[in-house]
Amino acid sequence: MSSTKIFLKSSDDKTFEIDETAARASETLKNIIDGGCLDGVIPLPNVSSNILPKVIEYCKKHGGDNGSSKKIANGGVDKDKEILPDYDEEEDKREKVRVDELKKWEEEYMDFDQQVLYDLMLAANYLHIKGLLDLTVEKAASMIRGRTPDQIRENFNINSDFTPEEEEEMILIEDEWDDEWAFD
């Protein structure tokens, strides 16, 4: 496996090292590498030095995706299809272990506060790292799922631009949703 090193420079001028194979997890970096425009250090003006190591950590885990360890990349979905005609129980077990291990890793990896979450999401979006983007977006969605509109405004720094009348009307509609009942 190639171990060419790539150097990434954060927005605050700090340089980080990453293997080329790991860097290929990012579409953006992959295009730069394949485009042959590698001129020593790749500047990333949109990613700060407190987020970049986090991004690199993700890429290291998933960098080999396109090559050797494809199984881990897709959560085993593609692999399942491949082994269907010739079902191998041992292989299936190993697959399950791999998926469980990856889930556990993701859980630990994603243990950070909301501030980091949105920064990481923006970095994943900028660098086109689909897996990381999905992970952060899914977490953001599960965080805001149960919130009230007020909490959402606070969270995203939004001012309501509805007139008081409009707002009252919207709240009326909102209240209707609460006359339902649920039981276990």
């Binding site: 003006p45 501030q115 805001i144 405004r153 995203f156 309501s160 339902e180 276990d184």
Partner: protein
């Protein structure tokens, strides 16, 4: 979209020094990035989205946008955790049961009252769901004591409801089914009604194209008669109606012969129907006959060879040219005669088909009683007592 992706984050990163500035800015940058917001919000349940419409005008516009509605629908369809179970009570409430598979299995049942017109439920009784939900919409029938009947289409998640006007005088004994045509992005309600020679069918289009901004359901057109069907429909309650791949399917049988059942396929884009296969007993084996009609093959017969493993084998492919009988004529398999098959063409002509040399032998040509429109079946005599 791409331009925005690369330009907007840079705005936030201009001054990364102050912690507090950074704290508020990254979430604001995310919230002003439409691509990311669509990605986040499209993972939320409808209930949360309805609540978030009053966050701001921008959020209201985004959540109501047809593109967002579509994105959300596609994602929701792929997520097994969003799958729910739905039924309609006779009292006119919709019950929606969620089965969550996360840490612990958790079952909740919501009760939803569609946005009925005032006094609606006082008049209408005997309420049933018609067919199955189709792309998030359901079709409900309402009957009242005077035997009048009304059809309503509802989105249980948003409670948006539209009353479908009745067609002509035909209101009783109809069979409806809801389908979706993806090429035109329209829902089409199909209605079969009894006519002396079978069933007539008509379509009612529920268009989403004309309703920009608010995606409430508005009827855009009226009933259109599409054709008549020389068949009977087996399942008048529509329980087995099935909407798959932009086509609606029912089990039917020809007027002349209720012993062979076909699957009727109604293509919602072309608005044409076809019957696809029939089920039969072929010499003691379960057999599916598929009309192929591709110009060279007439029928394929698939036989269930192995019940335990559900293995179907293609046993026959009937591709003979019969002078005077175009391929599109009605061909029925009457039964198996030794190694040969007895065929009936147009309910008038009986012939043997020999698969070994792919030949036909006429037995009765153009039967004098004008047609063998009675049920024709193989029969073996014996001494068994009927009592």
């Amino acid at each position: 979209m791409k331009k925005r992706k690369s330009s907007e984050p840079s705005r936030a990163m201009v001054k990364p020094e102050g912690e507090s500035i950074c704290r508020s800015s990254s979430s604001s940058v995310v919230s002003s990035n439409e691509y990311l917001m669509v990605n986040i919000l499209s993972r939320l349940p409808v209930k949360a989205l309805s609540r978030f419409k009053c966050v701001s005008k921008q959020w209201n516009t985004l959540i109501s946008d047809p593109y967002f509605v579509k994105t959300h629908q596609v994602r929701a369809t792929q997520d097994p955790n969003i799958m729910k179970l739905l039924w309609v009570t006779h009292g006119g409430l919709i019950r929606v049961c969620s089965i969550e598979e996360k840490a612990k299995r958790n079952v909740t049942i919501d009760s939803i009252r569609p946005n009925y017109p005032n006094g609606f439920l006082r008049k209408w009784k005997f309420i049933n769901m018609v067919g199955r939900p189709c792309n998030g919409l359901i079709c409900i029938e309402y009957l009242c004591h005077e035997d009048t009947r009304l059809i309503l289409v509802c989105n249980p998640a948003t409670r948006d409801t539209v009353v479908i006007p009745n067609g002509k005088e035909r209101v009783d004994n109809n069979l409806e089914g809801l389908g979706f045509c993806s090429s035109s992005n329209e829902f089409k309600l199909v209605r079969f009604y009894i006519i002396p020679e079978g069933f007539g069918f008509e379509l009612f289009t529920i268009g989403q194209r004309e309703t920009r901004g608010t995606h409430s359901l508005q009827p855009s057109r009226s009933w259109r008669h599409v054709g008549d069907l020389p068949y009977k429909i087996c399942d008048l309650e529509g329980r087995f109606m099935c909407h798959v791949n932009g086509k609606v399917h029912w089990i039917i049988f020809p007027l002349s012969d209720s012993s062979s059942e076909y699957i009727l396929t109604l293509d919602l884009e072309l608005e044409e129907y076809d019957h696809e296969m029939n089920l039969m007993d072929l010499g003691g084996e379960l057999c599916l006959a598929l009309p192929i009609l591709d110009g060279s093959v007439w029928l394929e017969l698939w036989v269930l060879k192995d019940y335990a493993n559900s293995i179907w084998c293609k046993e026959y492919q009937i591709n003979v040219n019969i002078p005077g009988y175009p391929l599109y004529d009605d061909l029925k398999i009457v039964g198996k005669w030794g190694r040969r098959l007895l065929l009936m063409i147009n309910n008038m002509t009986l012939c043997f088909y020999d698969p070994r040399n792919n030949s036909l032998e006429l037995i009765i040509e153009k039967y004098l009683g004008s047609s063998l429109s009675y049920r024709v079946a193989p029969y073996v005599e014996n001494l068994v007592l009927p009592f």
